[in-house]
């Protein structure tokens, strides 16, 4: 089933308003491939009808299901590996060398955490290199999608998922095997994380995460590409508001900081950039 011009425009506007995602016309196939399974699941007569249903009640449970469907992406543990190596080799050593290192917690925000693989990968990295990380490192995992946040909170992954990106040594160290060939993160790892639903395109996100105080590290990876330039700027500026000066921001491959550029210094790790926040807000 394919979409008419009118239905595409309506769906584009709905997604942009509610999730910030801007689906361009050349990605129409993405809309169709993700939404057609929902058409079948709910026995809706056509994709056009689905769009009408969503647009006529944009706050319905079904509208949220459509947003989840469009925003929850396949992800894997230790994605791209370099951010975790940079944490290990540059960021954690620097944080531990700070005068207050013994008395303060290290706070990390995984801002588009999807099903939690990124946040748990950060926790595993911390446990591998920092003695006492389970007490000292606090990781907040947020995502726009409530089902994705619930999934992350459960910390249970399929045999397929735990094999995507995760070294076997990490699996045997940090997971326990459940009866049905699934795997659950152990309590030590789980205890380092807290979870929340948060929408990066809303100013409310600052209030949602601010009570965790200022972050030393933020991961906001593979989500900025879905936003238009102006929205990207706003998202980066919101994130900057909850980071302490000198904190680090990791974006996805090819995603660069926008907004107040003077605030950021690129740090290179194996020719891949991540970002250090320079000035006070």
């Amino acid at each position: 089933m394919s979409l008419s011009e009118r239905a595409f425009t309506n769906m584009h506007d709905f997604l942009k308003k509610n999730s910030g995602i801007s689906v361009q016309k050349d990605k129409m196939y993405l809309l169709e491939s993700r939404l057609n399974p929902l058409v079948r699941k709910h026995g809706i007569s056509s994709l056009e009808k689905l769009v009408d249903m969503v647009c006529s009640d944009q706050t319905s449970a079904f509208a949220h299901e459509v947003i989840d469907c469009m925003t929850t992406n396949e992800t894997l543990f230790f994605r791209d590996s370099y951010p975790f190596n940079a944490l290990r080799e540059i960021v954690f050593p620097e944080l531990m060398a700070m005068p207050s290192a013994n008395i303060r917690n290290i706070k990390i925000w995984s801002a588009a955490s999807s099903r939690g693989q990124e946040a748990y990968s950060i926790a595993m990295t911390a446990l591998d290199v920092l003695p006492g990380a389970d007490k000292q490192v606090k990781i907040l995992a947020t995502d726009l999608s409530p089902p994705a946040v619930e999934y992350a909170k459960g910390g249970i992954y399929s045999q397929f998922e735990v094999q995507r990106g995760m070294p076997i040594q990490e699996l045997v160290k940090h997971f326990k095997q459940l009866g049905d060939s699934s795997w659950q993160v152990n309590d030590k790892l789980r205890g380092m994380l807290s979870f929340n639903v948060a929408n990066l395109i809303s100013d409310n996100v600052i209030h949602t995460v601010r009570h965790h105080s200022e972050f030393d590290v933020v991961f906001c990876r593979n989500v900025l590409i879905y936003f238009e330039v102006e929205e990207r700027r706003k998202v980066i500026d919101r994130i900057a508001k909850v980071m302490r000066p000198g904190a680090y921001l990791f974006t996805g491959n090819g995603e660069r900081v926008e907004g107040e550029n003077s605030k950021w210094e690129a740090v290179n790790y194996n020719k891949r950039p991540f970002w250090k926040m320079l000035s006070a807000r």
């Binding site: 590996s81 397929f160 094999q163 995507r164 076997i168 045997v172 326990k176 095997q177």
Partner: protein, 127 residues
């Protein structure tokens, strides 16, 4: 590092499907249907860089092959050995790691899992 890879599995269908994926990634494929044949292959092709190794096989199983391979000084750390097996229990994984395996794939495998595991080992696809 050479681009030679040895696929050890008693099921031909697995050797073919694994071999097909690895060939697509640019590797040169060698096959063995059990551990004993695999040891012979290693004698003939000592520069094999990666072994994809099943566990349960007749004649010599994968674990016994692994131990015999790592007992040879020239193969004490290389080639990389990736277990590819239906033995999906944690005790088997710990045993294989202690025996010198570098990675572990629980069957059924997929191309994405294989590519992830190669990346974890720092192995570049030759193609």
């Amino acid at each position: 590092m050479s681009n030679k890879i040895l696929v050890v599995d008693d099921a031909k269908v697995v050797r073919v499907s694994l071999g097909k994926i690895m060939k697509k990634l640019g590797f040169e494929i060698f096959e063995a249907e059990d551990g004993a044949v695999a040891l012979e292959q290693m004698k003939s092709h000592p520069d094999i860089a990666i072994i994809m190794l099943d566990w349960n096989m007749p004649v010599m199983n994968g674990y016994d092959f692994l131990v015999a391979l790592r007992a040879q000084p020239k193969h004490a750390t290389l080639p990389y050995v990736v277990m590819v097996t239906t033995e999906t229990g944690m005790p088997s994984m710990l045993k294989a790691l202690a025996g010198g395996a570098n990675e572990y794939i629980m069957k059924p495998f997929s191309e994405s899992i294989i590519r992830d595991k190669l990346e974890i080992l720092g192995i570049e696809e030759p193609r």
